[in-house]
């Protein structure tokens, strides 16, 4: 049986890596080029461009979306290209490396600290607010995603190491989930591409947002109900009825996860990893599915599931960073600024888990998921209007929705920070009291 499960795992590993290599992983789309503009001809609407990966310069047609006056010469830019009837046009020009002022420094470091704490505590998080934060500072979207991805794996590595030391990481479960998730990511990307081809950009955005909101509200709501129930009785976690039933399914190969204390069929874990990857490719927050999946489907405790998620984040983050790095989109300065605080935050969050009961982890996770769902939900009317399904939104409405969307993310992070700090402080005070009482007893 042990041999069979090893065989299935190995086959799955190779299959996932081969598919990932074939599909090109979860990296960026290829419709952009990087380089510097040498000369601009405003009357002809063209510009001479020197791409970084080419020896010779080319002349690019500037689309009407591009304001030639805003292009600075000899500054590294990222140019989005679009094929039109009469040739290829530059439709977007973005400065690759923004000047980092003190306020930007501080913003990135604060978000990094709280995001790190959240990661250390619930296994994932931070990315959902870091990418939009960077973009609001003026970082191009692709650079923000890439730099954020490159910050994810070192943070997850440190978090995994810490929580492994506390005896909370199930390495086997983490690797099974991570590699099946890589496979799932490829399927997710294929679905995304099919939707993009059929319904265009607005359709794809709408699809992503609707899936995001539904999944987060349903799963987050369920986790919240469970957390509140446990909190009322101040009880420890019990294995979910679904997980208990699934554990009884004796379909070989069976897998034994020691730290999680679970014996379950590979026919449960592999599809779960697959689904996590598929959703990660769609809504970009795989951990919000992976952790509840490991708790309610596999039957691991919230402590083990959130710790194991860090290992998954490490594997997937490393893989993703290589993909984005191959396209040369990682701004390491942004990555390192976030890491300067998130590497401390992740360890703080990790040690916090040793002082709290399982429901505190669930409570934080549910709160974050539900508030983030509001943030994305606020984007849906805009996408519906883009598709012509509802009347166009006025400028005022548009800015209100954008305001709600951004500040809901900040609120999610703030709420998480407050709950984690409060539950950790209470736990630490309780532990000190117990220690003192014990010392007094011994004396």
């Amino acid at each position: 049986m042990r041999f069979l499960s090893a065989l299935v795992l190995t086959l799955f590993l190779f299959l996932s890596l081969a598919t990932a290599a074939f599909a090109g992983g979860g990296g960026p789309s290829k419709n952009f080029t990087k380089g510097v503009f040498i000369e601009i001809d405003r009357t002809a609407g063209t510009a001479v461009f020197q791409a970084s990966d080419s020896e010779v310069s080319t002349t690019l047609k500037l689309g009407k979306e591009v304001d030639a006056d805003n292009i600075s010469l000899d500054e590294k830019v990222m140019v989005t290209l679009q094929e039109k009837e009469d040739g290829q046009y530059a439709v977007k020009v973005e400065t690759m490396f923004l000047d980092l002022s003190m306020s930007k420094f501080i913003t990135l470091m604060v978000v990094g600290l709280v995001g790190g704490m959240l990661s250390g505590f619930i296994g994932s998080g931070g990315a959902f607010v870091l990418t939009p934060s960077m973009m609001s500072l003026g970082v191009p979207g692709a650079i923000a995603v890439a730099s954020n991805m490159c910050h994810k794996f070192p943070k997850a590595l440190v978090g995994t190491y810490k929580r492994f030391k506390y005896g909370q990481v199930d390495i086997k479960l983490g690797l099974v989930m991570a590699f099946s998730a890589i496979f799932g990511v490829q399927i997710g990307i294929m679905i995304q591409k099919a939707i993009l081809n059929a319904w265009g950009n607005a359709g794809s955005n709408l699809y992503v947002s609707v899936v995001f909101v539904i999944v987060l509200v349903v799963v987050g709501g369920y986790v919240l109900r469970d957390a509140v129930r446990l909190a009322k009785h101040d009880a420890d976690d019990k294995t979910s009825p679904l997980a208990l039933k699934l554990q009884q399914l004796n379909i070989p190969p069976m897998m034994h996860f020691k730290t999680a204390g679970v014996r379950i069929s590979a026919w449960v874990t592999l599809p779960l990893g697959l689904a996590t990857g598929m959703l990660a490719a769609t809504i970009a927050v795989g951990g919000f599915i992976g952790v509840p999946g490991m708790i309610y489907v596999v039957g691991a405790s919230a402590v083990v599931a959130s710790a194991t998620e860090l290992l998954i984040a490490f594997v997937m983050g490393t893989w993703g960073s290589i993909q984005w790095g191959l396209s040369g989109l990682i701004d390491i300065r942004l990555t390192l600024l976030i890491l300067s605080t998130s590497l401390i935050g992740v360890q703080l969050g990790a040690l916090g888990t040793t002082y709290v009961k399982d429901y505190a982890i669930k409570l934080v996770m549910a709160a974050v998921m539900l508030i983030v769902a509001i943030s994305r939900g606020a984007k849906i009317p805009g996408y519906l209007a883009d598709l012509g399904l509802i009347e166009p939104l006025g400028a005022a409405m548009d800015s209100v929705l954008n305001f709600v969307s951004f500040w809901a993310l900040v609120a999610a992070l703030g709420t998480a920070g407050v709950i984690i700090t409060a539950s950790m402080t209470i736990g630490m005070m309780k532990a000190r009291k117990e220690e003192k009482a014990l010392a007094a007893e011994e004396a």
Binding site: S52, C150, Y166, G328
Partner: protein
């Protein structure tokens, strides 16, 4: 598994050493900002630069963070789980 002792000495020296190493790495990188941003975003094999840098900082800055928290008295509770 971590060995947790109640009367553990605080790692002041390690905190300072890793702190200096980490700060020096940050200063070195930001002092050569232009070269770094250009080289690290060339793509292809140059992916090694950001990856190795991220690993380097995760080790030294991670070790600094760990020692800093210990110095501040923020330690994990003795393992609840086996």
């Amino acid at each position: 598994m971590a060995t947790t002792s109640v009367t553990k000495k605080k790692p002041y020296l390690q905190t300072v050493l890793f702190g200096i190493l980490s700060l020096a790495s940050y200063i070195a990188l930001f002092a050569h900002e232009e070269w770094v941003t250009d080289t690290f975003t060339r793509g292809g094999y140059y992916v090694v630069y950001p990856m190795v840098t991220a690993f380097w900082f995760s080790f030294i800055h991670g070790a600094f963070g760990s020692n800093l928290l210990s110095t501040l008295g923020l330690e994990a509770k003795v393992a609840k789980k086996k």
